[in-house]
């Protein structure tokens, strides 16, 4: 099959672009350990606040025996509960979030943290916050008239300050 030289050049350009993007995907997944959240776990949204992991007294920040952090949150119109949390920088943090009513989204600007919170499912995302600072946690799925007021505050403290900070917040265990 005859291919015009100019067309052949463009084929090489396109193949090179595809190769670069594939290399970026493999590098991201295999070397940097970055993956799209794909957790699948169901829960009864209507009764999650009554008992179990998402009961009111179980919400908040938990330090695991291996030093990692687990954050248990409930998303409900119009807020994330608890409304303020503190986390250590440069530490693996696993968010477990369930919706008590409708579809919500979680996004922490200036970080890679983001996921959807679908009623009936537990969303789980593991991430790290490299830099201390104050970050808003926003709902990024339209959930009703108060959607634009649905946000909470995440304060990331330096790792050295974490033990003291962990005691002074809801669920600080």
């Amino acid at each position: 099959m005859h291919i015009h030289p100019l067309e052949r050049k463009w084929i090489y350009v396109v193949l090179a672009a595809i190769g670069i993007f594939l290399a970026a995907i493999f590098y991201t997944a295999l070397v940097r350990n970055i993956h799209a959240p794909s957790h699948m776990e169901t829960i009864d949204s209507a009764s999650l606040h009554l008992s179990g992991e998402f009961a009111e007294d179980k919400l908040g920040v938990w330090t695991q025996p291996d030093g990692t952090i687990k954050v248990v949150l409930v998303a409900a119109r119009y807020g994330f509960y608890p409304r303020e949390i503190q986390l250590p920088a440069a530490t693996r943090v696993t968010f477990r979030i369930a919706s008590a009513d409708v579809l919500h989204g979680v996004h922490i600007p200036m970080t890679n943290m983001g996921t959807m919170v679908v009623p009936g499912y537990v969303s789980e995302v593991t991430t790290t916050f490299p830099k201390p600072g104050e970050y808003p946690m926003l709902c990024n799925e339209y959930c009703g008239l108060g959607h634009d007021h649905m946000w909470s505050k995440v304060t990331v403290v330096a790792r050295e300050s974490w033990p003291a900070a962990s005691q002074a917040q809801p669920g600080g265990r």
């Binding site: 970055i34 959240p37 970080t111 890679n112 943290m113 593991t126 991430t127 916050f129 490299p130």
Partner: protein, 67 residues
């Protein structure tokens, strides 16, 4: 302007067009090097690649892993 019959006018037009080459004869893309187009293309591609590299290595990766 000289006035003539329609027949004379048709002959004039026919004669005038005798030297005009057809589209392929007039412009052969394979013998033409579009230097300006290539320059513009290279500048745009270089800019997009630089922007992508900055967002990927300078913004996305430093914000930490996510799983």
């Amino acid at each position: 302007m000289r006035r003539g019959t329609l027949h004379e006018w048709a002959n004039f037009v026919k004669g005038a067009n005798m030297d005009v080459k057809n589209e392929e004869e007039r412009f052969d893309p394979s013998k033409f090097t579009p230097t300006g187009t290539w320059t513009l293309l290279c500048l745009i591609i270089a800019g997009m690649v630089a922007a992508w590299l900055f967002l990927y290595f300078g913004v996305f990766l430093p914000r930490g892993s996510v799983q």
